[in-house]
């Protein structure tokens, strides 16, 4: 049916009108000579199909060509591949189809034959002219679109190539002068381009290289593997002619020409597992960021983020390891390459923490002084149809993604297992450490407790002893001072009396000091025992007032108590209540120069409130908080410091804590103060009162 009309064939056939025109091409071996046209075949052996029109064509036009006849196109192509013949000439579509189907990789389409393209018609036996007419009519009924559809289905791949790779004569000349191009590549940038375990150059670039070799009819050969940085330098020196996977950067534009980008890869940020999500490049400020030296990422980061602390590494593997080994906080690179290397190297403990606003836009690059080559490459790239291109991408990227997925799943599972194991391990270790620690602490606690108890006993003994040892001489000092002052041992002159009064005052001050220190120590040691008994509050207050009256009178101050008639029995520690009352009243007298001190006592239903009010110097607001803390006698801002330990109010507060009451101050500077405290009122009535309040 598909038959090319020829004079000799016309003897047997009626030919329909041509339904398809296909050029004839020359196919040769990749490693063999390049046949641009049929003229180049002179002196060569050409494999042709027996009975095909090409045999008489060659015989007639190129008698210098040795013709070998084969039964089929397939056999003819096989002969070329095996070296039996130098070339095959024939229908391009068939040749392409067979080369691809039968995977004859060392064959390559070369030049086009000068002879007119094959015109296929339907041949009909000459004695059946009616059929020929019918067929003509039928063929004529096939629309142009339908014809195009059929073309596309069966023949399009090659159709596109030759029709769109429309090289200028200058370009053809350039190609003639440069039959071989040296391809520079990155040996460790999977899946784009890398050297596999067997040392082969593989990846997307390798596929493109093969495709371009076929399309352009050129020999692009990979150079020996060297780092990308070196590759770029070689490119500058002119010892590399072409790069398939270069990203345009301003630096590189100074010495390279770039094709339009054919693929984009996002540039991502990889960190260790614990790093937080990185939403902004600013998050990396001041951090050490690894980047492959000479990569587009390096140029971009250097230009756009000069503030980053870059750690330059030789390849992706080293960059990822830098993160694992904490030499860098992050690594920035292509997602595809990173996932590939992670899988290949079995690197774990890193994660993609964020995306940069940048991407690797892959282009083919040639030296700046080779614009002709750049033009050819761009044409060739355009000539690779979308399907082919996608297939290459799919093959490598899907490998990556598949692998990435597989590995990721594997890694995820492994990671989970490792995490669980390490968590268990960690917890076990932590637990055992904790147990050990606890045991140790328990031991220490027991020791500490014993030490504390022992220290406490020592302290108690010390306090008892100190109390005794200090009080015994004080007993003598206070006692004899009193005896002499009372002139029990004989009369005194005024000067002697005045001086002895000073001794008396000082010895009492010393005694108070000892008592307060002892009180605080005892309270802090929890050694103060509160004895709650019912006692008469009015009686206790009166006692205190009477005991302090001499002191108040000495200063010319009034001192009186105003006790509500409701106030009567209180269940508390009488001695401690008296101690508090004396302390407060004593303070009031001490800090008052004019006026007086009043003690008020009121029944507040749930408690008894006792208020000691003076007309003294008052207290600043900012000082009020300090009042009830130990050793905080306030600096009154005057030359005068008041006698006292500074412990009294602190003791009062602590005692009131123990008694279930509270103490506070109401005061304004210069307008006197009121110290008030409460005692809880117990509902339980007891008749037991003490004769002597002991205050």
């Amino acid at each position: 049916m598909d038959i090319t009309p020829a004079k000799d064939r016309e003897a047997f056939f009626h030919f329909t009108l041509p339904y398809l025109t296909i050029p004839h091409v020359i196919v040769g071996r990749r490693d063999g000579p390049h046949f641009k046209s049929e003229k180049d075949l002179k002196g060569k052996t050409v494999a042709l199909e027996r009975g095909y029109y090409n045999i008489p064509y060659f015989r007639k036009n190129y008698p210098e060509v040795t013709i070998k006849e084969y039964n089929s196109t397939s056999e003819a192509l096989g002969a070329v591949a095996s070296g039996e013949a130098d070339a095959y000439a024939g229908n391009r579509a068939v040749a392409t189809y067979l080369i691809e189907r039968e995977l004859i990789p060392n064959l390559r389409l070369m030049g086009r034959m000068d002879k007119p393209p094959v015109v296929l018609t339907v041949g009909v036996r000459k004695d059946w002219p009616v059929l020929a007419k019918l067929l003509d009519r039928a063929l004529g009924a096939i629309t142009r679109d339908e014809v195009r559809g059929i073309h596309r289905k069966w023949l399009e791949a090659m159709e596109d190539v030759t029709t769109s790779l429309d090289l200028t004569s200058e370009e053809r000349a350039w190609l003639r002068d440069h039959p071989v191009l040296r391809l520079g590549y990155d040996p460790d940038w999977p899946p784009v381009e890398y050297v596999d375990k067997e040392g082969r150059f593989v990846g997307m670039s390798a596929d493109f290289m093969r495709r371009l070799n076929t399309i352009i009819g050129i020999d692009i050969k990979p150079t020996k593997p060297q780092s990308w940085q070196t590759t770029l330098q070689e490119m500058k020196k002119g010892s590399v002619d072409i790069l398939f996977s270069a990203t345009r950067t301003p630096q590189r534009e100074s010495f390279l020409l770039f094709s339009a980008p054919y693929l984009r890869f996002p540039m991502v940020i990889v960190t260790d597992q614990v790093a937080p999500y990185i939403g902004d490049m600013k998050d990396l400020q001041g951090k050490k960021v690894a980047v492959v030296k000479g990569y587009a990422s390096h140029d971009i980061l250097k230009n756009k983020h000069p503030d980053l602390n870059l750690l330059l590494v030789d390849d992706v593997t080293e960059g990822l390891n830098a993160v694992v080994r904490k030499k860098a906080y992050a690594f920035i690179g292509s997602l595809a390459a990173i996932s590939h290397v992670l899988g290949r190297e079995g690197i774990s403990g890193v994660k993609v923490s964020g995306e940069t606003p940048y991407s690797y836009e892959l282009s083919v690059a040639v030296p700046k002084d080779q614009p002709v080559l750049a033009g050819i490459i761009q044409k060739a790239l355009n000539a690779i149809n979308e399907e082919d291109r996608n297939e290459i991408f799919k093959r490598w990227i899907s490998v990556t993604y598949e692998r990435k997925f597989d590995y990721q799943l594997l890694w995820k599972i492994l990671l989970a297992v490792i995490l669980i194991f390490s968590a268990v391990f960690y917890w076990n270790r932590r637990l055992s450490r904790e147990i050990n620690l606890r045991r140790k602490i328990e031991g220490e606690l027991v020791e500490a407790k014993e030490a504390a108890e022992s220290a406490n006993r020592v302290k108690s003994a010390f306090l008892a002893s100190m109390s005794h040892e200090l009080r015994t001489p004080l007993n003598s000092i206070i006692g004899f001072t009193g005896i002499i002052l009372n002139e029990l041992a004989g009369p005194l002159n005024l000067e002697q009396k005045k001086q002895l009064k000073m001794v008396k005052g000082s010895s009492h001050h010393l005694l108070n000091l000892i008592n307060d220190v002892l009180d605080i120590s005892k309270i802090e040691a929890g050694e103060v025992e509160i004895t709650k008994e019912a006692f008469s509050m009015p009686q206790a207050v009166d006692q205190v007032v009477e005991s302090l009256r001499p002191l108040a009178e000495q200063k010319g101050l009034s001192l009186y108590a105003k006790i509500d008639p409701d106030v009567d029995l209180v269940v508390s520690d009488e001695r401690r209540v008296c101690q508090i009352l004396i302390n407060l009243a004593n303070n009031a007298i001490k800090f008052t120069e004019k006026g007086g001190v009043r003690i008020a006592c009121q029944d507040r239903e749930t408690n008894i409130e006792v208020r000691v009010t003076d007309t003294g110097i008052g207290i600043r607001d900012e000082d009020k908080g300090k009042l009830f803390k130990p050793f905080q006698q306030l600096d009154m801002g005057t030359a005068r410091r008041y006698e006292g330990t500074g412990l009294g109010l602190s003791v009062c507060r602590r005692i009131l804590d123990l008694l279930g009451g509270r103490i506070w101050v109401e005061s304004q500077l210069g307008e006197g103060s009121t110290f008030a405290f409460t005692l809880p009122l117990k509902s339980e009535e007891t008749n037991e009162t003490k004769e002597d309040p002991g205050c």
Binding site: S460, M466, S467, N475, S476, G479, F480, A489, K522, D692
Partner: protein
């Protein structure tokens, strides 16, 4: 009124002298003991109206002296007033538990001391 006799058990010479001086100025008759054992003997032999007992004594302490005084038929009716510095919690209760009728805190207040003593004598007299 018959002159009251007071036994002072006190190991510190100065305090013994101080208390004796104050009491004798008020016309009390004072007998002295410088340790617990001596105190027990003097209490029995002298039959004082009141015993002022220091608690922190060498050898036999004041608590023991008080217990023994209260155990003995000869001395159990004599009121005992502890004269002591209440250093530690519980001292006060311990003093009363040992049989003392009362206590006077050390250091004594020379202005009030004799009045305090007279107070304990009155309680005794009221019985």
């Amino acid at each position: 009124m018959r002159q009251k006799k007071i036994l002072v058990v006190e190991d510190n010479e100065q305090n013994l002298y101080l208390i004796t001086f104050l009491l004798e100025k008020e016309q009390f008759s004072v007998v002295q003991a410088r340790n617990g054992q001596e105190g027990l003997e003097m209490a029995t032999s002298e039959q004082p109206d009141l015993i002022l007992l220091d608690i922190q004594l060498p050898m036999m302490d004041g608590y023991e002296v008080a217990r023994r005084l209260k155990e003995s038929r000869d001395t159990q009716s004599i009121p005992i007033v502890a004269v002591t510095s209440y250093a530690m919690a519980g001292d006060r209760e311990a003093v009363l538990a040992a049989g003392c009728e009362g206590y006077i805190e050390k250091p004594i207040d020379p202005d009030r001391f004799v009045e305090q003593v007279k107070g304990f004598l009155r309680i005794k007299n009221d019985d």
